[in-house]
Symmetry: C2
């Protein structure tokens, strides 16, 4: 497994070409990209500015900062309003139709950018990029595999992060430190405005059942009302489960993996529920092929929870999440989503996390999460680490 900081030119060209196919299918002339996430996707860098990709030809990087960025595609601007004249000066023409990231930029920013092209038809670039980014390129898959490998190495140190009497916050802090030393970039990128979080989540005992406002599988009360998610300062005690769901952001691409530790032994029903989650993963691994429907996976998972008599505590108790998995990549919540109303079919090159979880009152959260790559013939697990409950 190789790890390089920058994508090779041919991998970027593959991305440009695929996006140009989508632009062509939409019948649009160009897109103008401004989000950090999609600028990174299209250039392998983050800069303050825009990427202009016409339906044919090379992209232009309109760069505001850093002021000394060196790249053959770069043209420097002071402000967005400089773009039209630079397009004309470089014989690229003014597009008759252009897509902007309407699901990512603010209303005010959108008004400003659409005014650059007063006679153009304006469309939404976000769904196209989200759709394209579902299918990873070869270099992106390498990044995810590398993240998964380090993710597992860090989880092997969780045991050393524990000592009797420690709180969930302190344990999480120790894990965060191991993550950073292993190369975690720290920042956790997500799509949408409702995904506030910090490095990931550690849930101990009944805090796993505390509902959260955010779009995560499980909640947790958090340490402060201004960030109601995750660990809440609970002291770890005999008979509690400890669910570790920290990010695998060791490259720009994040794997997602959850494991459960126990303080001493847990009641028998905890092992039972945990095994149901593992069985769900086994079924996923044995049955999934390109073409498998995301809704079908959600539905049979729900059915298996019901057959096990665990419907009431599946994906939460006081509040139950309505999905069992999601795409991962530059953002932790990419497409596809494994939920009942998904119309997506799995395709080779997709990478997704599957996270069937249970919350048992008086014990805590059970179940595992792995990240999988869809191959030509099935799926490959890229987060390989002990799956049974690990006693501390």
């Amino acid at each position: 497994m190789s790890y390089t900081k920058y994508p090779p030119a041919n991998d970027l060209k593959l991305r440009w070409g695929r996006l140009q196919e989508l632009l062509s299918e939409e019948g649009t002339d160009a897109c103008l990209i401004s989000s950090s996430v999609n600028i990174y996707y299209l250039t392998g860098m983050v800069f303050n500015g825009f990427v202009y990709l016409p339906v044919n030809g090379n992209p232009v990087y309109f760069v505001r900062r850093p002021e000394d960025l060196r790249h053959p595609c770069a043209l420097f601007i002071r402000k967005a309003e400089d773009i039209p004249s630079l397009l004309l000066k470089n014989n690229l023409g003014i597009p008759g139709s252009v897509l902007l990231e309407a699901d990512q930029m603010t209303y005010s920013e959108h008004l400003r950018l659409q005014a650059l092209f007063p006679v153009a038809k304006i469309g939404n670039a976000t769904p196209l990029l989200r759709k394209q980014r579902m299918i990873k390129t070869p270099w992106e898959i390498e990044q995810l595999k590398y993240s998964g490998k380090i993710h597992a190495e860090v989880y092997s140190k969780v045991r050393d992060c524990y000592h009797p009497g420690i709180s969930d916050v302190e344990l999480q802090t120790n894990v965060e430190r191991e993550m950073r030393l292993a190369g975690s970039i720290g920042l956790f990128r997500s799509f949408g405005s409702n995904m506030d979080i910090y490095m990931g989540s550690v849930l101990a005992g009944d805090n796993a059942g505390a509902p959260s406002p955010f779009d995560y599988a499980l909640g947790g009360a958090g340490v402060h009302p201004s960030l109601p998610i995750g660990s809440n300062g609970s002291v770890l005690k005999e008979g509690m489960s400890l669910m570790v769901d920290m990010a695998g952001n060791y490259t720009a691409y994040t794997t997602d993996m959850t494991r459960v530790f126990s303080i001493g032994k847990l009641p028998e029903k905890a092992y039972y529920a945990h095994q149901v989650s593992i069985d769900m993963h086994h079924r996923l691994i044995s049955e999934t092929v390109p073409g498998t429907s995301c809704a079908d996976i959600y539905n049979y998972t729900l059915q298996m929870a019901a057959n096990a008599g665990l419907s009431g505590c599946f994906m939460g108790v006081r509040q139950q999440a309505k999905f069992v998995g999601h795409g991962v990549g530059i953002e932790i919540n990419e497409l596809p989503v494994l939920m009942s109303r998904s119309e997506d079919l799995l395709q080779p090159g997709m990478t997704f996390a599957f996270e069937p979880k249970f919350v048992l009152s008086g014990i805590g959260a059970l179940g595992i999460e792995n990240t999988y790559l869809v191959t030509d013939t099935g799926i490959e697990k890229i987060t390989n680490f002990e799956e049974n409950i690990i006693e501390l």
Copy 2:
């Protein structure tokens, strides 16, 4: 100094009343708030949903999640489209004009919300909230003072986070751990889409001069091209300065403070530049009163840098920031901004960071940053910690 997790009811009522005055001045009937930051400001909680504040009367909390939130102002919704009928059912009427957070929500979200009020005049709530949040309430000031106190306690541990041969990333990781153990909520809230960062920044040696795409005073190359800011893995060596600019997010309100450490002794010009920054703070403290112009502070700071012969390395070298300070609060980059085109005058209740910094080639960053509260007669420093260069 008291610290309570939730604002008292009278402090929230003060905020509602002030915002209602601003709504009234705008001649608008109501605002509908959806950002986590402004929901927190208006309720002392974060939930998934909306705060509807009419120009008269109490707010309504339209809550989607958590599903078990208990509050006298709460009405539960499944989706935004439920709001108009609930307004009618509760005899609140449909507003003839309503403000939405146009500088914070996405274009698509804005279209969806404005469609709830098809005949209403729609305006922008963001500038009103930004303007109001400049002036802190008594409880908010307590939060900032508490954050400042813990901020200083954590900085007193930086020395213990160092050992010879350590890298900037490892030292930052050690500081992050101390921050978390001292109660840092981790997440770092900021306004705008161009403020990606993680917990704060540690800049060692020449990495301090690396330009960044983001809107911070100084840059740094970062550990990965997908997050080009801050520490880059440099090993700390004799003669390097180490600038620590980590967040003070020990409540929902963040103080901002920068201190400089040195590996052994630095060349004489480093102490000279550092003293110029301290002199700028002395002038700020002695001259600032309510009514002082933010632009004036920027201008005399720039002049002092020129008088000291340090213009070329003030606020960066390869790229120079065009501000020397900024408001702080729930977000690290609130109003006012200390820059030449600011029209703001300082007023009692404002809290702002002042950060005149220099970057010397071959040495690193120098200068300090403090957070100040504007009082009725002057300013009060709320980040009290040794200001001279601290030798490691």
